[in-house]
């Protein structure tokens, strides 16, 4: 299998006219695991939404290519078909649509990118069998497939449902946005193993967004990046994780005063936004 490349180049993203990402550069190859760390409000989710093409995230500059193909020109569903996947930090619930039905539509479209709406879905039997296997891997009760997507799910169930979709869709590149948060340590392990299995099967390139070291004990990153004030200020190996775990972000602040100013402003903004909710 040829190895694809996801290349984020000088990406600038604004929300409601306010610039959040100020020139992000990041290159991920299939088979690699990258970790992206950064304080709350530093723009991690903004990056993941922008990669997936959420309409509220305005890209003013830069490019994102997957194997040379510009992603920013594509609709979100076309990006998914091209091999991008995002496990959301806060997955949306879709009342009345079962996990199985939703996933059958998703899998059908991603595996048959030329399909027109209304054409047949993939065979129910094959789909069920495959989904059962994946659910088994993730320690999920088969009944789970009949529940309405994310409706009344606990935090942990939502994250598991995201990873189930990841393992069915087998993307070339997956962004996991705080997939570990809200999970107990056993769940983190199960979910991480699930991710590793897909990654091993189809050589997915993984970008793990997290605050904590614990998920990275299972999904071992070769590369670690620090997002601060809307840009990647440091990139290195796994040792960066330990450093952040021990020392926090103070040294980052001192080393990058300009990014620190932006970060402070964004954190205030984030706090104000949370109050408003």
């Amino acid at each position: 299998m040829s190895s694809k490349v996801l290349k984020i180049d000088n990406l600038h993203v604004a929300i409601a006219g306010k610039e959040i990402l100020k020139g992000v550069n990041l290159t991920i190859r299939q088979g690699e695991v990258h970790a992206l760390m950064g304080p709350n409000g530093s723009g991690k989710s903004t990056l993941s939404y922008a990669l997936m093409g959420h309409p509220n995230y305005e890209v003013s500059e830069g490019s994102v290519t997957l194997d040379g193909r510009e992603m920013l020109e594509l609709e979100p569903d076309e990006r998914a078909k091209a091999g991008l996947f995002l496990a959301f930090q806060y997955p949306t619930s879709i009342p009345g649509v079962t996990v199985a039905n939703f996933l059958r539509h998703a899998v059908t479209n991603v595996r048959n990118p030329e399909r027109k709406e209304g054409e047949d879905l993939i065979s129910m039997r094959d789909f069920r069998k495959e989904m059962r296997e994946r659910m088994d891997e993730l320690g999920m009760d088969p009944e789970f497939a009949r529940r309405y997507l994310n409706e009344g799910f606990s935090g942990g169930e939502k994250k598991r449902a995201e990873v189930l979709q990841l393992s069915m869709l087998q993307p070339a590149f997956a962004v996991l946005d705080e997939t570990d948060s809200g999970l107990d340590i056993d769940a983190v392990r199960i979910v991480a193993e699930g991710v590793n299995k897909v990654a091993a099967r189809v050589s997915t390139g993984v970008l793990v967004i997290t605050h904590y070291k614990r998920i990275l004990d299972y999904i071992k990153p070769g590369f670690v990046h620090i997002l601060y004030g809307g840009r990647i200020v440091e990139s290195g190996g796994p040792e960066l994780v330990d450093l952040l775990e021990k020392e926090g972000y103070d040294w980052v602040r001192e080393k990058y005063p300009e990014a620190a100013r932006d970060e402070d402003e964004m954190e205030q903004h984030a706090a104000a936004g949370q109050l408003a909710h």
């Binding site: 078909k81 949306t92 879709i94 009345g96 939703f102 479209n109 991603v110 869709l169």
Partner: protein, 453 residues
């Protein structure tokens, strides 16, 4: 334009004095029934036509409805051509349900297979008048619905044609679901169907009724009908009523159920067709321990206007009612729902619930939900609510991020929107009929979007 103007004179035309006489001669009915019709006709003439200032007609404009342009249908023999028109739908329903009665253009075209009725009586109303006059005389337009409800009820009571009676004697449980198909096709443009369902003490039955247009030309049509349900002590009825007329049809329907002691009613309405609908759907819990579940699936498009007035009348203690209406609207269509829970002084320990949710799929569509409570008892639990919203963009984005294109995502979300009402309907073919009808209407949307005219 005066706001209190009469919307249309009841200008008799085909429903005037002379036509009524012709109609009575043509029917050749027993004296008691002729007298009833004459009384109803007098009521019709004495009852003012709806005015736009009337609460029930404030949002529902029928000025374009010309009663005089229609005429009461006379008796006719159904032809081979009629059978051909009916066959696909009749055969389709026969595949799902035990047996059924079909009417086309207000005349009976197919009768139920009596060997499949498990002891119930299920016949067209004209036959019932001949063979079981005592039943018809006792129940028809005397208890659940009365001719004086409004001008259209009186019109119906004077001119009803076609119609079915389902009578289930004491203790008889009809296991298999029955159906009633009411069609307007070819040149037929008036239907005055009457559905009468009586379950004696301890009786049980399921009836699925569907009214639909079958290849009619692009001309106006009228349905002025009524549904009456009377449930004895401990009786159980599941009744489904799907209205799927074409968008030239004016639909007026007065529907009321009397639910006796410990009886259980599940009543599902599907409102899909018609140019304009004005429906009164009422349940009266008049025996201790009675319960009713009312479900509504409404979906409108084009310039359709559907108005539903529901009532949950609690007249006895320890009664339960639970109403859930769901509406989807696209294009320039409009849905009006006005619900009333009424609890009488003696109806202590009432548990009543009503909810109307609407999903508005277009900027030009509009949903009005007006819940209401009138409570005279003090020990009751009543809950009501209404919502209206657009398809959630976050849901669409979520689905798109998993490879599902926008239109398909919307379709999934709309289907999901109706799921909690489908979940209450245990008959799979009914769910499937409603699902397909909703899907077909959504599809029309995609076409208009592609070829804006």
């Amino acid at each position: 334009m005066s706001s209190a103007s009469t919307m249309s004179p009841p200008a008799a035309g085909g429903f005037g004095e002379a036509s009524f006489e012709t109609f009575l001669k043509d029917r050749d009915e027993p004296a008691w029934l002729v007298r009833r019709r004459k009384d109803a006709f007098a009521t019709f003439q004495a009852t003012p036509w709806p005015k736009s200032s009337d609460e029930e007609w404030r949002r529902t404009d029928i000025r374009a409805f010309k009663l005089g342009a229609f005429a009461a249908p006379l008796r006719r023999q159904t032809s081979a051509a009629d059978q051909t028109i009916l066959a696909p739908l009749y055969d389709g329903m026969s595949a799902h349900y035990a047996t059924g009665i079909a009417h086309l253009n207000a005349s009976v075209a197919r009768s139920a297979d009596s060997s499949k009725l498990g002891g119930a009586l299920f016949v067209d109303l004209a036959t019932a008048v001949k063979e079981h006059p005592e039943l018809v005389e006792r129940y028809l337009l005397t208890q659940a619905v009365t001719p004086d409800a409004d001008a259209l009820s009186a019109l119906h009571a004077a001119f009803w044609t076609g119609g079915t009676l389902l009578y289930v004697p004491k203790g008889v449980k009809v296991e298999a679901p029955l159906f009633s198909l009411i069609g307007l096709g070819g040149a037929g443009n008036v239907d005055m169907d009457h559905t009468l369902i009586v379950l004696e003490d301890g009786a049980e039955a399921t009836l699925v009724r569907e009214s639909t247009s079958l290849g009619r030309p692009d001309t106006p049509a009228l349905h002025a009908g009524a549904v009456e349900i009377v449930l004895g002590r401990g009786a159980k009825l599941q009744f489904v009523n799907i209205q799927n007329w074409d968008q030239q049809t004016w639909h007026f329907s007065r529907e009321r159920a009397l639910v006796g002691r410990d009886a259980q009613l599940q009543w599902t309405v599907g409102g899909l067709g018609s140019r304009l609908s004005k429906v009164n759907q009422e349940v009266v819990l008049n025996g201790e321990g009675a319960s009713a579940q009312v479900n509504g699936v409404l979906f409108t498009g084009g310039r359709q206007h559907l108005a539903y007035f529901t009532r949950q009348d609690h007249a006895a203690p320890h009664t339960t009612s639970d109403l859930l209406y769901k509406g989807g609207l696209k294009d320039h269509s409009r849905l009006v729902w006005r619900g009333m829970i009424r609890v009488e002084k003696d109806a202590q320990r009432t548990d009543a619930y009503q909810k109307d949710d609407n999903l508005v799929l277009s900027d030009s569509a509009r949903a009005d939900s007006i819940p209401g409570l009138e409570i005279e008892a003090n020990d009751v639990r009543c809950t009501h609510g209404a919502t209206a919203g657009r398809v959630d963009e976050d849901m669409i984005f979520y689905a798109r991020s998993r490879g599902v294109a926008r239109e398909e995502a919307i379709r999934l979300i709309v289907e999901g929107f109706f799921a909690n009402v489908y979940d209450r309907i245990t008959l799979e073919p009914v769910r499937e009929t409603l699902r397909q009808a909703v899907a077909a209407k959504l599809e029309q949307r995609a076409e208009t979007a592609r070829n804006p005219s």
